[in-house]
């Protein structure tokens, strides 16, 4: 009996550890539905691909447009993106503490043609290494600084209360 209890707690602990170590992207802040998205979750969302140059190496990224992710979290889009919402921004977090900002309007396809991809594969393989499990790809930016590697979170911040 004692051994069974021990085994139960051991399995529970291992299960929790495994769950904790599953890479994910947190969608937090001024959203109506905070989300924790794993690669499995992203696989069930509308997928998109884009071809980009990684310092000259042709790379096909696949993932989900950031606006689709924000829509699922209840962030205003399209006609709803008015008034105070236009003074909201997305603070992007990386695993090493790196942060960048996009305004909500920059990420909305009804405002701009420059869409940003939340990528989880490159050339058909899951991202790994210095890119992390998730990466933003911003083909409309001339510099790569906002194509955040090692992505861990998107935090919506409302400037006008």
């Amino acid at each position: 009996m004692c051994n069974r209890v021990l085994l139960f707690f051991l399995l529970m602990t291992l299960g929790a550890a495994a769950q904790d170590s599953t890479p994910s992207v947190q969608i937090t802040g001024g959203v109506t539905r905070p989300l924790t998205l794993t690669s499995g979750d992203l696989a069930r969302m509308p997928r998109a691909t884009l071809k980009a140059s990684d310092h000259g190496v042709e790379t096909v990224y696949e993932g989900v447009w950031v606006h689709e992710v924000l829509k699922r979290a209840g962030v205003p889009q399209g006609d709803q993106l008015r008034g105070k919402a236009l003074a909201a921004y997305v603070l992007v977090h990386a695993q090493d503490g790196y942060q960048v900002v996009y305004s909500l309007a920059e990420l909305d396809p009804s405002f701009t043609g420059n869409q940003v991809l939340l990528a989880d594969t490159a050339n058909g393989k899951p991202l790994f290494g210095e890119r992390g499990r998730f990466q933003l790809v911003a083909p409309g930016d001339k510099a790569h600084a906002r194509s955040v590697r090692m992505l861990t979170g998107l935090e919506v911040v409302q400037l006008r209360k």
């Binding site: 990684d54 000259g56 050339n123 393989k125 290494g129």
Partner: protein, 364 residues
Amino acid sequence: MRGRCALAMLLAATVCTGAEWDWQLPPGFPRPLIPAGNGLSVAKVELGRHLFYDKRMSVNGGQSCASCHKQELAFTDGRARAEGTTGQLHPRSSMSLVNVAYAVTLTWAHPGMTQLEKQALAPMLGTEPVELGLAGHEEQFLQTLRGDAAYRELFPKAFPDQTEPFTLENVTKALAAFERTIVSLRSPYDRYRWGGQQSALSPSARRGELIFFSGERGGCFHCHGGWNFSGAVAGEKVVHSGRGGDGFTNTGVSRYTAPNRGVFEHTGKNADLGRFRAPTLRNIALTAPYMHDGSMATLEEVVDHYARGGRYASPNKDSLIQPLALSPEDRLDLIEFLRSLTDVEMTRDARWSDPWEVRNRPPQ
């Protein structure tokens, strides 16, 4: 036997027709840019290889290009400062020729030196310092080439449209063609990053990779970026300007006194004092000692230099050169990562080895 003969005939035909060079690049990688005035052919590369390893390229028969650019050292010489054929020391360290075809600029600190054909004249004819020492001996040098049976075969094949192919211009063209072919993309890191072979990199090197590419922790990639781990690169469909807009940065390595004041030596602008090129870090474990003046003997010294935010204060020091919070383990991981950029196959690839080893060595 018949197959061997057929292969030999095919090879001969390939050389005769000036066939294009097979780059053997990994999928998706850009091809190097080839200047319009110096198309790349197998025959021209072969001529360039013979010249590169020929000590008759120097006035006293003491040195060839390969004396300062040794294949086993990723085409550097292992010295802090290069030494010419008459014993004069160069103010700076010999640079690696690996992936030089992708380099936008070629030397430590000359933004205007962008053509390999032109650059080859500096070691051949330069007098400050004397490197190969051929200035004033050009015609005698060409006469030596004309008198060699191997060159009487190689020059006409490399320049089939010319009645008199033995010219200094053609020597530089052939050398440049050979140097452009030295492409190094077969390191353990390449197998890991682009080949999908996870086991090619040790856990320590993988931790080092994260430090290298993290702007919050190491930030090395800012100057040594992209797949070439360097400043400015160019290839088909790619131009990457590098840190500072041209890939030259002041990293607080020295006090930058003449003649090692960096880009300043060529522009005279104070803002260019101490700006040197960020070379490729590919094969960096083979190219010690480090920096433009060879003043750092080991990778450990280099990492410590950057971790303390630069060795010397300088008004032009890049704002990114700041003290880094790197533990001793972090530093070891970073060095392990840098070692994973060594392409051992490049150091023994027969395409870039000494051809005179298999021919009769020419008289010295």
